[in-house]
């Protein structure tokens, strides 16, 4: 791989060479070709094929699928599972808002008062990512369980009644989502706050702004792109998440991710799973499109 990089290097062709202009013209394409082909074949084509798959009908006996152009699949899946879509929207929405509320102050503190230890604090924010997503969620299951650390302590202190439980409730799912995706919120917020030009803030104070006004009218507006990025990077994965619901939730609060996973891996009903995936993707695309439209698609990179 390195070889192709070096030979196609833009500066690789010296001016006196005949191939100079050709090499220069082709360089960007040769450099980007392997990655583009990989993304085209394994990202774009599979996404597009979801749409095709959602129009097929599969025989329940043989499992063979044929294209039947069954456009009714999408609406019928929506009416069948709209409750799970709504649950997912609500859970992901609440978890994202909680994450924004939790991480704004700490992002603000690290950006403004972190000093020399900024990097250390940032790694502390990222700490959950060093443990497998699945293990993190399982540990929360144990922590929140009936004889786990938290409930045992609270029962002992007579704060909660003996049959109070958290696992299986919507609260447990939202708490799990909020924990697992917190770093996705905190980092973009930190980047946005860190970027604020301190002189703008000084100017606000020089113009007799009090701290409240400086915050509401200078800091907050300047962090809006970061808040949007944080929202997008937290909400979309939380919206499609099913691990938290499966491990921490019960049977009454099924999210759409669980339905999609089961369609594919349990019921082997690919068209149904594909239809639901298409809808999930469409909902996410609205957010992605809005972001790209308002802030430009490249800006999201600044927050990663």
């Amino acid at each position: 791989m390195d070889q192709s990089v070096s030979t196609d290097h833009p500066r690789s062709v010296e001016k006196q060479h005949h191939s100079s202009s050709w090499g220069k013209k082709l360089a960007p394409y040769l450099l980007s070709l392997p990655a583009s082909v990989w993304l085209l074949l394994l990202f774009i084509v599979p996404l597009a094929s979801l749409l095709i798959e959602s129009l097929e009908t599969c025989s329940p006996v043989t499992g063979a699928c044929v294209m039947t152009w069954s456009w009714g699949q999408l609406p019928s899946q929506v009416s069948l599972y709209h409750q799970q879509f709504i649950t997912s929207l609500i859970f992901a929405g609440i978890a994202t808002v909680i994450d924004l509320a939790i991480s704004f102050p700490i992002a603000y503190w690290i950006a403004f008062y972190g000093g020399r230890r900024k990097n250390f604090f940032l790694i502390m924010l990222l700490v959950p990512f060093f443990v497998s997503f699945i293990i993190r969620t399982i540990v929360w299951e144990f922590i929140l369980s009936q004889n786990g650390v938290v409930l045992t302590f609270l029962r002992g202190a007579h704060v909660i009644s003996p049959n109070f439980h958290v696992l299986g409730t919507s609260a447990a799912v939202i708490a799990g989502l909020a924990y697992n995706y917190l770093p996705f919120t905190a980092l973009p917020l930190y980047v946005a706050i860190e970027r604020i030009d301190r002189r703008v803030l000084d100017a606000a104070y020089d113009l007799y702004a009090n701290r409240r006004n400086a915050f509401l009218r200078v800091i907050l507006p300047l962090t809006i792109p970061g808040i949007f990025a944080a929202f997008l990077l937290t909400f979309i994965p939380a919206f499609g998440d099913y691990v938290n619901q499966e491990i921490l939730g019960g049977t009454s609060n099924t999210m759409i991710g669980t339905v999609i996973q089961d369609s594919y891996l349990v019921n082997f009903n690919y068209p149904a799973g594909a239809s639901l995936s298409v809808i999930l993707l469409a909902v996410s695309l609205v957010g992605i499109w809005l972001y790209a439209r308002l802030l430009g698609s490249r800006t999201i990179e600044d927050y990663l």
Binding site: M1, V5, S6, R11, S12, Y264
Partner: protein
């Protein structure tokens, strides 16, 4: 440091205005709050590490959350659960291979994107948008799409499909990371190398690569971390031999052997070790 300067200036302006509350929020409330948040983030990890040392009573060797006393049994018998060990090494192999490929492809793409404006590089805008979409799209949809794709083309699920998938979701992150490094790259260094008669390959190896190396390494670390932790996509595209996260997920139905926490702790220690090392290295440079 600029923070302190501005803070001092603020205090001066405070005096100008007159009575205003001291900046208590920055000195006491915020730090306390922030440390509480950090404690909240670290808490489950501490629980995982501690319960890797929990004794098990009863027949089945599964984790229970009543504390039964300290034991280092699970560390001594770390490889005693056959499926788990296989899954772990599979994950390591997938992560190594996909990191290698994704880093090479992602770095090349980053070079192309940084050095060629849209006029000389048709399709550049489209590639940018695909990268953005790749980062922002919900993982479950990518996994579902891949599964349908592999089934349609009759590609047996296993090591190959896992590597194909992991490279797919790592490329964008590598590209973004390397590109961030490249933006401050001084092209005149390469020109100097050519002026001194270096061949293109030598220039790339001796000038370009060493300069962008920190970015490439950061990208590679990111790809490795993404791969080894991936569950959602892997769950769709793995066959009968699941990688580590998928194995653990499957085990939740019957119960988790304590060795899962041993592996979890090991991965955590290596990851945090790399992270802290990078801090120390970046401090030395400045």
């Amino acid at each position: 440091m600029s923070v302190e300067i501005s803070a001092n200036e603020n205090r001066e302006s405070t005096q100008k205005v007159g009575a205003r509350r001291p900046r208590r929020i920055g000195r006491f409330v915020l730090p306390t709050y922030s440390w509480l948040v950090i404690a909240y983030l670290v808490f489950p990890i501490a629980i995982m590490i501690v319960y890797g040392f929990n004794r098990v009573i009863g027949g089945l060797q599964l984790v229970s959350f009543s504390w039964n006393g300290f034991t280092d049994e699970w560390y001594r018998q770390w490889s005693n659960v056959p499926g788990l060990t296989t899954a772990f090494w599979l994950s390591i192999r997938i992560a190594l291979v996909s990191t290698l490929i994704a880093t090479a492809l992602g770095t090349a793409l980053a070079l192309a994107l940084v050095r060629y404006r849209a006029a000389k590089f048709r399709g550049r805008v489209a590639i940018e948008q695909v990268l953005f979409l790749n980062i922002a799209a919900p993982e479950i949809v990518m996994g579902a799409g891949l599964l349908g794709f592999f089934v349609t083309f009759n590609i047996a699920r296993g090591f190959l499909t896992l590597v194909l998938a992991h490279v797919m979701f790592s490329i964008a992150y590598v590209t973004v990371t390397v590109r961030a490094r490249l933006s401050g790259f001084d092209r005149s260094l390469e020109e100097a190398s050519y002026d001194l008669g270096a061949k293109p390959l030598a220039t790339f190896r001796l000038v370009t690569l060493p300069i962008i190396m920190p970015g490439v390494l950061a990208g590679a670390l990111m790809a490795f971390a993404l791969s080894i932790d991936d569950f959602v996509t892997s769950n769709f595209v793995s066959g009968s031999n699941p990688p580590f996260p998928v194995w653990v997920y499957g085990a939740t139905r019957v119960g988790i052997p304590p060795q899962v926490f041993v592996f979890g702790t090991a991965i955590f220690m290596v990851g945090i070790g790399f992270a802290l090392m990078s801090i120390v290295l970046s401090r030395k440079k400045t």
